[in-house]
Amino acid sequence: MSTTTRRLLLAAPAALGLGLLARPARAADPDSATAFVDAMLRELLAIANGNQPQAAKRAALARVVETRVNLDAVARFCLGRFWRTATPQQQADYTQLFRRWLIRSVSDKVGEYQGVTYTMGRATRREGDISVSTVVNRPGNAPNRVEWVVDAEGPPMVIDVIAEGTSLRLTQRSDYASFLSRNGNNVQALIDALRQQAAAAG
């Protein structure tokens, strides 16, 4: 064994230890991720079942999404490899449109959250995140398995929702990827389409 190899072998555990120390103190662990998701769902349902007018409820839901979901990270994930080829201006435009779309698609469904109950399940650590499973019961519907994926490396925020095994961000990414491949991999075409969609939604 050469000296270099030996030195490397000795250095590896030290580096690992330092790496652990260097991790942000606030990073989520399974317990804190579970508490985070529980608090978020409580917040959402308190708004949905409250007595405010619909518009106020929608605005309150939008605020919850903005503070609890890492919208920028989700936006970047959904663009996949095209994030790298986009210009800074395109990245900014796209992120803004994506944020609007996601916030809107959650807050528009406010009526559907009424009377919803949930039970918390297990939290499992995966590669860079923690998946917190829940069962969501909507009146008149079969119970749904919903997993909330919380970032375990960056700020503890939701980065994906997996409903009955379908991941929101994976589905969205494949939608964008297919659109882009049919539009000459042109990110501007995607931005224009998203803008049109936002305008149509009012």
């Binding site: 490899r81 779309w101 698609s105 008149g140 997996i162 009955e164 095994g165 379908t166 991941s167 994976l170 589905t171 494949s174 939608d175 964008y176 990827a177 297919s178 659109f179 491949s181 049919r182 995607l190 389409a193 998203l194 969609q197």
Partner: protein, 260 residues
């Protein structure tokens, strides 16, 4: 005749798909494009898209209006009754698949459901079994093949049936052939009941997805690709769930290797 036609249809469609156009493979020099092509796993995409469009058009003028009317006109308790009856009629096939998948607890659930709901549940109209601790689950031969280790193969969009793949399309045919109700009895009434069941199944299933599909169509930039992704993910997660369900599976120690 009805059975033969219903059983052979997926197989014929499979053949049709295989004969029709293929997607242009990507430029092998562009690794990203190759990666996308592999991820889509949809070499028959041009044909699939045509079938998707036709299905979508038919859905807009026939199935969706029927499902809308059904949801808005039929009182919810009656809809639940219809769903219960359809589920109960499907349970012999579910039971057979549970057993072939080697899942005793799931097979037990289905068996108890069939017995309890057919009797206490007045021929399947009610579902007392769920409340008694035997909840419903799905099982089909496509899942059984997956549990046995078969891969899904390329994506297929089947006329009428929608998203599929060779494994699940074959499974559908096998499930139809396995269905005891396709074999019992003869004559006009039996045949009419069979069609009524198929029709009710279609409308009931479509009614359950009304909101989700409308929303998906409105929001997706490419609904075809979004549906493809949703189908695959949902299917894979269901199959993973079945494989991970080891309740009741005996964990007998492996026999020591036998020496000659």
């Amino acid at each position: 005749m009805r059975l033969a036609l219903r059983t052979c249809l997926p197989a014929m469609l499979l053949l049709l798909g295989a004969l029709a156009g293929c997607a242009t493979p990507p430029d092998p020099a562009d690794p990203d494009a190759v990666e996308d092509y592999k991820a889509a796993n949809d070499p028959l995409e041009p044909t699939n898209r045509v079938i998707y469009e036709v299905n979508d058009g038919l859905d807009a003028v026939i199935l969706r209006p029927l499902a809308l009317a059904y949801r808005n006109v039929v009182p919810p308790p009656a809809q639940q009754g219809v769903r219960n009856v359809l589920d109960n009629l499907a349970s012999p096939v579910v039971l057979a698949n549970d057993m072939m998948q080697g899942k005793p607890k799931r097979a037990g659930d289905t068996f108890m459901r069939l017995v309890i709901n057919s009797t206490l549940g007045m021929g399947g109209l009610l579902d007392p079994a769920t409340g008694m601790g035997w909840p419903r689950h799905d099982a089909d031969f496509g899942m059984t093949l997956a549990v046995w280790g078969a891969g899904e193969g390329p994506y297929l969009f089947l006329p009428v049936f929608g998203p599929s793949n060779p494994r699940d399309a074959l499974g559908r045919g096998v499930d139809m052939a396995m269905d005891p109700f396709a074999w019992i009895g003869k004559g006009g009434t039996v045949e009419a009941l069979g069609y009524a069941r198929t029709g009710a199944n279609a409308v009931d299933t479509r009614a359950r997805f009304l909101g989700d599909l409308d929303r998906m169509r409105a929001q997706a930039l490419d609904p075809y690709a979004t549906l493809r992704s949703l189908y695959r993910q949902n299917r894979q997660s269901t199959i993973d769930g079945v494989i991970a369900d080891e309740r009741g599976v005996s964990r007998a120690p492996r026999p020591a290797s036998i020496r000659p």
